[in-house]
Symmetry: D2
Subunit: 347 residues, 4 copies
């Protein structure tokens, strides 16, 4: 069973069907099609306000383009030191912004800390030509540690950002998982808490390759269309991005899929955490589990063909997905239990 990442999965049948259905007949290219317009309407309805929406194919593009719309080349973008934009994009934000600086900040549970952010901004040298200039704050929801920000936590960060007149971006590659977990509305988790731009992910949660960059403040979006084209991220047959998003948002599919992934993560982490020698590194609040296992258990599971990442030392990352089967989860727990028992007998 493959718990390596949610991106080892294929696409949800509903989304594949939407894609196939969208293929028939001619339609205007480059986003002038009715399906793309409908996606904007759906997202506006979902977020309960007017929005400007740009579909793109990858999360890297969504984040880097969004940040480039916010930060000048001489800007500083504040993020968690372990954030994906800072560590796993091979410098995409730096490329798209033409050289802005990502300032990685520490924070427990993968979350930015308002006090740390404020302290950093207090001595950021705004207006001093020797220093890159504060330009934006970006946070990840759900975080890279598998935790989620509550609306209050988002608001506390946004408040600091706003005090320094900085726009707030949210990397929502796993936004659906956060919404599914928290039970708050998408609006509560974003613009009502001070988020200005959201990278609204679908790829990991059942799409083939589709994300929507959602601007809650239209004036921030002015350069985006040109930047997207210039970055090669404007699809000529845009209907095929929009169809995925349309299917994703139809009949609550996006939340249904995320709830399932979260439930599987809960089930798996609960089963494993009950075993001796096993410790959760972070609370499991989305579909990622960071958990410490005894070395023999890690080896035994690998030997039996379970796929997962060794994160750091004995901490491994297990990711469940929209299509993770409960029986696979249960089998892994059973196997881990057997390994734990064998280990106990040995000692």
């Amino acid at each position: 069973m493959n718990f390596t990442s949610d991106n080892v999965t294929g696409a949800a049948p509903e989304i594949l069907k939407a894609l196939t259905d969208a293929s028939s007949g001619p339609t205007p290219s480059y986003g002038e099609d009715p399906l793309t317009a409908r996606v904007t309407e759906r997202i506006a309805a979902l977020f309960e306000r007017e929005v400007v929406v740009f579909p793109v194919a990858t999360g890297s593009a969504a984040n880097a383009l969004a940040l480039a719309a916010l930060a000048p080349p001489y800007g500083a973008i504040y993020c968690h030191e372990m954030s994906h934009v800072n560590t796993d994009e091979c410098g995409a934000p730096e490329m798209f912004t033409a050289g802005a600086k990502l300032v990685g900040l520490p924070g427990a549970g993968g979350k930015l800390d308002p006090a740390t952010l404020r302290a950093t901004l207090d001595k950021s040298g705004a207006g001093n030509v020797h220093h890159v200039q504060p330009a934006a704050v970006t946070l990840t929801q759900a975080t890279e540690s598998g935790t989620v920000y509550t609306p209050a936590e988002v608001a506390a960060l946004a408040e600091v950002a706003k005090a320094f007149r900085l726009p707030v971006h949210m990397d929502g590659a796993r936004f659906a998982n956060a919404v599914a977990r928290l039970g708050y509305s998408p609006a509560d988790l974003t613009w009502r808490a001070g988020v200005d731009v959201l990278s609204f992910g679908a790829t990991k949660n059942g799409a083939l390759a589709a994300e929507a960059v959602v601007f809650f403040r239209p004036e921030l979006a002015e350069s985006f269309a040109f930047r997207r084209k210039r970055a090669g991220h404007l699809f000529s047959k845009m209907r095929f991005l929009s169809a995925q998003l349309d299917g994703y948002l139809t009949d609550g599919l996006w939340l249904r899929l995320a709830r399932h992934a979260n439930a599987m993560a809960d089930r798996l982490s609960a089963g494993l955490a009950a075993l001796p020698g096993v410790t959760l590194r972070d609370p499991v609040e989305a579909n990622e589990i960071f958990i410490s296992l005894p070395e023999p258990m890690i080896l035994g599971l690998e030997h039996r063909g379970y796929g997962f990442y060794r994160w750091d030392g004995q901490t491994v990352r297990l990711v469940t997905a929209w299509n993770t089967a409960a029986e696979d989860v249960d089998r892994m727990i059973a196997d881990a239990t057997a390994l734990a028992n064998a280990c106990a007998q040995d000692s």
Copy 2:
């Protein structure tokens, strides 16, 4: 009927099926999957040599990334003045190369002219720090004027490029149409004629969004993987790009679709060119028709719902595609004929 562009079409059923089939089961992400490996093998077989292949989703990305692999920021890239990379990418090559300069050269029929290229390179100031440095030559096959380069024409340009030690890139957004027209092998039209890197298009010819960047000289590809990732063009679920290319290359689908598009262009241009007051601006050698129509005929066709671009004055562009119906072509010819006759009676 919509002759606006080949990108107003959906996807070929065979490619949609390949996509759907590829969705089942987990598979490694980011291009480590067997399907992506198979695409490389297929392309190697098709081109009769070892190649390095990178699937991407758009032609803009394919071209800009390929050029960035060839040209330093202080480089000059020689292209036709009307080439897509020069006029229709909102500066993508400039972004990806970090500021290289596209030098647009004139040339009849949308083709670069070896003598013009040589004359330009002769006074390019190579080695002189005041001038951008010759870095690459790029040509489009089929061209932006709907013509095609013969292998000899490609070789003549490549010979000039090689004399100045410049690599040659081919923008093959409509490469299939050129191969279908010319009857030469893909190898003859590319590396045997001196092409070093090919953007091998599929999107316009029946895919949803898929292009392959094909390096015939592996040493030129060294930075590509990093550049692709950094540009947000590395798909996590790469199988969905590769599946499209796989379907495209299966059982000669790519050529079959292109032959159809070309045949429809022939049929349409022949029918129209026979009418009084109608003149072809360029020979029709792929699936694009640049043709001068009498103004009343243009208005009449627009009135009847035919879609096409007004290119320049009375010259319009008509593009046929992999799925253009012969009856639609015939109907347009009939309508144009009726308009021509009506016009003749008026005068």
Copy 3:
């Protein structure tokens, strides 16, 4: 005698003295010194209005930084096809703007033509994401052909630019020569005619290495200080740039030096143009002479040690400077006359 360029000269004694005088005692660094403030005041007085001034050391920096303040990465900058920014900066504007596109336009006498500019802008595709977006117009005063724009000519270009809401930059590497020739005030030649930013050159006209970027619209200058620092063009010991500019502007030195250079160009071109077989390519309106000489005369002059550039075929460029000696000019005329006579006897 060296007529290769005005940059083969040293520095005017007055400027060297100002530099030396400025060296004594401590003074705030990075432009916070009183001398830099005085330079701004002097320039404001000279241009009869409030200005924002940034001293830099090279014309390349002045122009590229100014253009980067005006054009986004997806912008188009309209310039003469032979302009220095387009041909002789190794792509500096592209680097500083992060990839904007220079659009070189033809124009007689090295001057941009308002009709050509308007026609180009009419079909520039403003608002269309496929095309780089019109961002700025830049003109060179005196031009790269040794001619000058009258205030009316500048205004005609600026009027077109303003109709498309584009700011106007003037590359004034030889601004002093233009002012000296035309007799109009600096204000008349710049902001009163619609210029928004001026690169006010001093290096070629007697300074060591100093130019002032002068913003007539302060709101355009907002990013400049950061861009200058980031480009390594903020001098820690700024006093040494400002001292040069201060000396340059003291007691009308800048105009006196330029008048001399112009007078020497007049003298030299008049003397040469009177000879048989000699033709001026462009009117001599500043300190550059583009002139066609018989091949034997070229060779003879080179043989006697005269330095100049072979521009194109038999056209050579001769540049006089702030310190060109009249006797050197006269000697060259005499030698050229002797060569012309010898040639006449031969034939």
Copy 4:
């Protein structure tokens, strides 16, 4: 007395004289002059090997250009977290490299630590497209904490870098101070210890604005001339940069000036450190003093007109220079002593 920075000083008379002397007569521009050639020879002799030398005017330019010659846009540059390139250049390295990432590492006394560097490189993800790729190591000599690296310390870092095939750059804005302190030869402190490129500073140590980028491995310098021009850092009247460097290197002026600055730092720090409540934060090994003073002493000194930076809390930075007068140092010590005594009486 101004101890704010060494850049509040003017220029050494010997350097001003060299500059003035260099002004007479015409000379080839853009570095083709004999004086520039002589500077290269002098630097080669000083470093006891062949070198490629590029004069530039600022340390920001020297460092950013050198790093751009070493690191691709997707590169990682390892530096001390407090290094000038990381904190005080408004992102110049990011601009010049087109977006490479500076990875700031902790290290006592402002020095990079070999073990930390190795541990970082061990998990840098070399070859993994998701991560920026290790490209260069840069260290500052003397450091931003006023300490110096011994040849052995440089070699230990370079050894780690070489193990990962990374070139080593040294920011030598205060290289002279380090050489003056350590007594080792310039060669021992650079290439013999594994340094590949040196930014050899002169500005802070008596020049007006001049630094030399010195390549010990010529193959690394291939792109430099183009990058320098493109960045606006190629001076047309290059003689005026070279003259400064020539004067700097004549008769050991550079070392003499640095020794004086160091001696003044020793004298000042010794005098202050002897007072109650005063603690040196770092050993004084060059011309910068980081020292903790009682708050009343800070206020008292400021009140008496002494200039210095408040660094952090009660730690202030005092910088001596090539022209610091011993009597000014002594006066400050006396005043500080008086303040300390007054303070003691109060309590």
